[in-house]
């Protein structure tokens, strides 16, 4: 196997007395799709934020294409960030900007493309996520949650990143819309040839998106395997999670 596009080595993170990550080891090969599952509060979002450089780990290393994410600075870091896309759990659209300005944010603000050109690119990208040009001039507050997720997806893919993170892409959507989002993710990721790391509770979504599945439990990756093996993992924790049972080795988190 070639150099993995993303590599986490022994990543630890604590908040006060709450040790959330206890040595996460994970690697993602180019153009493959990894889904991380795990209970609420198990630290999935924290892991993602560390991988993105939004949080600094207490220990361990995070490498993007061989480069240390936590150490890189200035132009290097900007170049690295341009190769990474992110769809946030809440879509995180800028509510003071129009839909197209959100989608084209990096083009206008960072790459300093002319607005007209940027808008054309934004509309073209919106079409890829099945949104018409009429949506482009609306504000995020004027569109539904499912549409916001799609706009977020368009913003994540417009710069043709090599690695995309999805934080619970289908949470809060009805099953049909959720499935449409899954389809879009699979379709766009294939078109880009990008690697993806997705977090989800939603097993239907995981099965659809994933090449591989990993499970995070008590701050560590306790199982990893092909998506097709998730039902025959032989791991009692994974079995309990996949079948959604309250009975088992994992205690419900309340």
């Amino acid at each position: 196997m070639s150099v993995p596009i993303l590599e986490l080595k022994g990543v630890e993170k604590r908040f006060g007395g709450n040790q959330v990550l206890r040595g996460v080891d994970l690697d993602v090969a180019s153009a493959t799709s990894l889904v991380v599952i795990g209970g609420s509060g198990s630290g999935k979002s924290v892991m993602l934020k560390n991988a993105l450089g939004l949080m600094i780990p207490d220990a361990g290393q995070i490498l993007f294409d061989g480069q240390d994410v936590t150490r890189s600075q200035g132009k290097d870091r900007d170049r690295m960030r341009a190769r990474i896309g992110m769809l946030f759990q809440s879509a995180a659209l800028f509510d003071s900007l129009r839909v197209w300005e959100n989608v084209a944010f990096r083009l206008v603000q960072v790459d300093r493309l002319r607005r007209k050109e940027a808008k054309a690119r934004a509309i073209e990208t919106l079409r890829k996520v099945r949104l018409g040009p009429d949506v482009a001039d609306l504000y995020p507050a004027e569109i539904s949650g499912g549409m916001q997720k799609r706009v977020g997806l368009a913003r994540a893919i417009i710069s043709q990143p090599e690695l995309i993170f999805f934080d619970e892409p289908t949470t809060g959507l009805d099953p049909i819309t959720a499935d449409a989002i899954n389809d879009l993710i699979v379709e766009q990721v294939e078109a880009l040839g990008a690697a993806t790391v997705s977090i989800t509770h939603d097993m239907a979504s995981a099965r659809k998106i994933a090449d591989e599945i990993a499970m995070l439990f008590e701050g560590k990756i306790i199982w990893r395997g092909a998506a097709s093996d998730v039902d025959v993992s032989g791991n009692p924790y994974v079995e309990q999670f996949v079948q959604g049972l309250a009975e088992g080795p994992i205690q419900p988190g309340f």
Partner: protein, 263 residues
């Protein structure tokens, strides 16, 4: 640990906590200031914030100034009458307004309107992950969000204070002419005769500092705000209270310095 030392331990950890918070605040303000004076500048954002902070504050500031000027004229008239010094009303009104009340009233009004507004906006952006999103899109929140607000506040507050000065003096003049029996021309001449450029300058320097305080407090508390509506509400309250207190404290410090340097 002996029970006797327990109070010292508590005191020590409280002091450390305060020092840590202060350290955070100083680091934050320092790096936003640095972002404000070094490229790259987002001029579109700066312009938008100048309109929001400056232009839309005009009604509040104008209203506050006219009432303060009017009340000041009345009070000085009453006080001055005790030793036959009624004729000093215009002079004292204009000095009080340009050196002190214009900047302070503007600062306090904007601690409410602008500082709390920035804290609520930034706080909402923080809890909805918009600030994280900015970072992943290679736009530094300090440069894209905070520095433009700081620059806009520092530039527009002095302009607002000029307006407040003029309207405040006009308030005093209205009362002077209509209720206190001053001749309009005499009132205005007395106003201008004793006014020095340094009085106005002193007020303008103060107001630039107040602008920085107001914007920085809003950004700081917004940036740190905790999830949920209560978290954002708390950020707005904290920023307003600390901006108001710091405006008054720095007003005293600056006034002392101005006296020292004869401004």
């Amino acid at each position: 640990m002996p029970l006797l030392l327990r109070p010292f331990q508590l005191l020590g950890s409280a002091v450390l906590g305060v020092l840590r918070a202060l350290g955070h605040l100083v680091m934050f303000c320092g790096s936003v200031l640095w972002s404000a004076i070094t490229p790259r500048w987002y001029f579109g954002e700066i312009g938008r914030q100048m309109v929001r902070i400056g232009f839309y504050s005009l009604p509040v500031v104008g209203l506050a100034a006219v009432f303060i000027g009017a009340a000041l004229a009345l009070n000085i008239y009453v006080g001055g009458a005790r030793f036959n010094a009624e004729q000093f009303v215009p002079t004292i009104v204009v000095l009080g307004i340009t050196r002190e009340l214009g900047p302070v009233i503007t600062g306090l009004m904007l601690a409410g309107r602008v500082s709390a507004g920035i804290a609520a906006e930034v706080g909402a952006m923080r809890v909805t992950e918009q600030i994280d999103a900015l970072t992943t899109l290679s736009a530094s929140p300090k440069r894209y969000l905070y520095a433009p607000r700081l620059i806009a506040a520092v530039l527009t507050l002095p302009l607002l204070v000029v307006v407040a000065d003029i309207i405040g003096v006009a308030g005093g003049w209205l009362v002077g002419v209509n209720s206190l029996g001053f001749d309009s021309v005499v009132y205005l001449r007395n106003t201008l005769d004793f006014l020095e450029m340094s009085d106005v300058t002193a007020g303008l320097i103060k107001s630039g500092v107040f602008g920085a305080i107001i914007a920085l407090m809003g950004c700081y508390y917004g940036d740190r705000s905790q999830a949920g509506a209560t978290g954002v509400g708390r950020a707005a309250t904290l920023s307003m209270v600390s901006a108001a207190v710091l405006v008054l404290a720095s007003n005293y410090v600056l006034s002392t310095l101005f006296v020292e340097f004869g401004l």
